[in-house]
């Protein structure tokens, strides 16, 4: 369960009670509240759809985000249009908020294309990054460069609890502190790095690691979308206005397996997973919206129907989608096709033709 220690920021308790003091200054209109719910439901639906698509062989492998919707939607919703997201491989929820083309995105998991994002700079969403911890440095570099241009925008980079063990995490945070880079380090502590539990990953609370870099660290209930939104919003403002980075530890849980290739029963108990199912971020938020009269049953049904449609569109778009023509691969390596590569291309294409002929 998310630590009950008061160092964990929370607005919406699991039991539905609202901490009014914590809620103070929350700048969300009713439409925003509904929109965040819409995104969360959408993330959940598309996520389940993708797990199904993998089982049917339409995706090669897929890393489910189920359980982490509040952490991803709440944080991404707090961003400005110019802010840049540097994700790992589990941030489909953040991609949805950013409006990334989900069929493009799923090409990564289908094994038909490595990037998952067309024109990342335009999309303000970097390509999927699998080498754990590696993307944080790119976020810091982008943030430094954006500050050099005097632009008021910040970067946010997503990573897991396991990623905090990587040297790149440390180097990225240290550079951010030294150069006062406008960046938010958003850690989703979902308690597991494949089979390695957080206790075996590090001996200190993640949010405290910020101490080592001279900028604030915050622990937030990652299953409370309002709290996540608020701390991220504040972090982005600090970043843009004062060049103060923030390390956010969103305490949440990976309800699904590490990926569709993983058998989580080998290393964790059903009881543990069940306990966290009771803390489902969607359920908690839905109850809040209905209690506040911001949403009603019919709205919820409507939202779910919309989500079904989007999921169906994603399925339709990715099902049977072909890989790129082999010729294109040779065009993507360099800005030009150097002679040695042109030779290899010609050999490859020659073979393809034969294949077709014979």
């Amino acid at each position: 369960m998310p630590s009950k220690r008061d160092d964990t920021f929370r607005i919406l308790a699991p039991d539905g009670t609202v901490d009014e003091k914590a809620k103070e200054g929350l700048d969300l209109k009713e439409e925003d509240l509904r929109q965040m719910f819409r995104f969360m439901v959408l993330a959940r639906k598309v996520d389940l759809e993708c797990t199904a698509l993998q089982r049917q062989g339409e995706l090669a492998v897929y890393p489910p985000l189920i359980g982490q919707e509040a952490a991803q939607i709440g944080s991404a919703y707090a961003l400005g249009d110019e802010d840049f997201i540097f994700p790992s491989y589990r941030e489909m929820g953040a991609a949805i908020v950013r409006g990334v083309d989900l069929v493009d995105y799923m090409h990564f998991h289908r094994g038909t294309w490595h990037g998952g994002v067309r024109d990342p700079v335009g999309a303000r969403f970097a390509m999927i990054s699998v080498p754990v911890g590696s993307q944080m440095l790119h976020a810091v570099g982008w943030a430094m460069g954006t500050k050099f241009d005097g632009k008021e925008a910040c970067a946010i980079t997503y990573f897991g609890d396991g990623a905090t063990s990587q040297g790149d995490f440390h180097e990225a945070c240290n550079f951010a502190g030294v150069f006062k880079a406008p960046v938010v380090f958003f850690c989703q502590n979902n308690h597991w790095a494949i089979s390695v539990p957080i206790e075996k990953q590090t001996a200190a609370p993640i949010w405290k690691k910020a101490e080592a870099y001279g900028f604030p660290g915050v622990r937030v209930d990652g299953n409370d979308v309002l709290a996540v939104y608020k701390v991220t919003r504040e972090a982005t403002e600090r970043a843009r206005a004062e060049g103060i980075p923030t390390l956010i530890e969103a305490v949440t849980y990976r309800l699904g397996p590490h990926s569709t290739a993983d058998d989580a029963t080998r290393y964790r108990t059903k009881e543990e997973v069940d306990r966290w199912h009771e803390l489902d971020p969607l359920e908690r938020y839905r109850q809040f919206l209905e209690a506040e009269g911001v949403a009603d049953q019919s709205f919820v049904l409507e939202v779910e129907a919309e989500a079904e449609d989007v999921a169906a569109t994603v399925r339709a778009g990715i099902q049977g989608a072909p890989p790129p023509p082999v010729e294109d691969l040779f065009k993507w390596v360099y800005s030009d096709v150097p002679p040695h590569l042109a030779r290899q291309r010609d050999e490859a294409l020659g073979l393809l033709e034969e294949g077709e002929d014979g």
């Binding site: 090669a60 754990v132 990623a163 890989p323």
Partner: protein, 324 residues
């Protein structure tokens, strides 16, 4: 004479080594309860305890550097890198320390450690999970670099690697993990540094290692139907390289084609060609050709069949060499 997969054989080799020598340790990401993502360390933690077989935090440079430290305390660590592309964060420790440590000490200290690295493509995996980085390691003096192509040899090579006093990069060709072979798992095969003639032939030599050995044997079987006898040489060890076996085969056939998954430019195939030219030039009746991955990042899984050396591509090269 049981039938075993290469994955089982590797698991048995680790089990054998753990009981054979109580200084052997296994460490890496997810090697404990999970038994590794490919189950190569399956059940070992349960059998040998959490000190002999343990999970580490998610940091490859540390896995390598800490392993070096463990050797200086008298242990023989066998570290697992989860996938080849995730061994790159450890390259600095491997190149600047592990490979040089014995040399720097004027031979007064040893680094008996093994780094296991699943490698290669052909299994429809995600990005960063199908590369063949043997060049980076083979070019790094001080390392021995071995790679088995069959289940029984995997057992034998891994047991020998763990007993070796020098640091060894042990590549495991993923696409062969599930390939079966029947025979007894006893460490009595060829030593490290000896290549193996996987099939005899007199018209042309196919030089390969890891997963490409099976691919070359396919080609050889098909070629035999046209009366073309191809010799298939399984290098087994890239460093040290079996120069005698290479020369013997090529001097017999007068022709050679090298096959590997890694990109062409400075792939290990280039070294094989250069060695053949240095040792057997006067025996060559045709240029030595290379059939390899293309000079691009490993492509998406759904196109890898067009990237990896195919039976067709190898045939083409053989034809060119024979018709020269």
């Amino acid at each position: 004479m049981a039938e075993v997969t290469m994955a089982q054989a590797l698991n048995e080799a680790l089990r054998f080594s753990l009981s054979d020598d109580d200084r052997v340790l296994i460490l890496g990401e997810d090697v404990g309860k999970l038994g590794g993502v490919f189950r190569i360390t399956d059940k070992l933690q349960a059998e040998f305890g959490e000190q002999r077989v343990f999970d580490t935090p998610l940091a490859e440079s540390a896995i390598a550097g800490v392993s070096l430290g463990l050797t200086q305390a008298g242990w023989r660590p066998v570290a697992e890198m989860q996938f080849e592309a995730f061994s790159y964060p450890a390259l600095d420790q491997v190149i600047s320390h592990i490979a040089k440590y014995r040399f720097r000490s004027a031979g007064t200290t040893e680094v008996p450690m093994v780094i296991r690295i699943p490698c290669g493509g052909g299994i429809g995996a995600a990005e960063h999970h199908s590369e063949s980085p043997e060049t980076y390691y083979a070019h790094t003096s001080g390392l021995k670099v071995v790679i088995p192509s069959t289940a029984l040899d995997a057992f034998n090579l891994l047991v020998r690697a763990i007993r070796d006093p020098d640091p060894i990069i042990f590549f495991e060709p993923k696409s062969r993990y599930w390939s079966k072979e029947s025979g007894d798992l006893v460490p009595d095969g060829l030593p490290i540094g000896a290549a193996r003639v996987a099939r005899e032939g007199q018209h042309c030599t196919l030089v390969a290692w890891g997963a490409m050995v099976a691919r070359c044997l396919e080609v050889a079987t098909a070629a035999a139907e046209d009366g073309v006898e191809l010799e298939v040489l399984d290098l087994r060890s890239l460093v040290p390289l079996d120069l005698d076996a290479l020369a013997a085969s090529v001097q017999k056939t007068g022709r050679a084609v090298v096959v590997h998954e890694a990109p062409l430019t400075v792939g290990f195939g280039a070294e094989v060609v250069a060695r053949i030219v240095e040792d057997s030039f006067d025996y060559l009746e045709a240029p030595v050709l290379r059939v390899t991955g293309y000079d691009m990042p490993y492509p998406p899984a759904k196109v890898e069949e067009h990237y990896l050396p195919s039976v067709d591509r190898i045939f083409h090269a053989v034809d060119r060499v024979l018709s020269h």
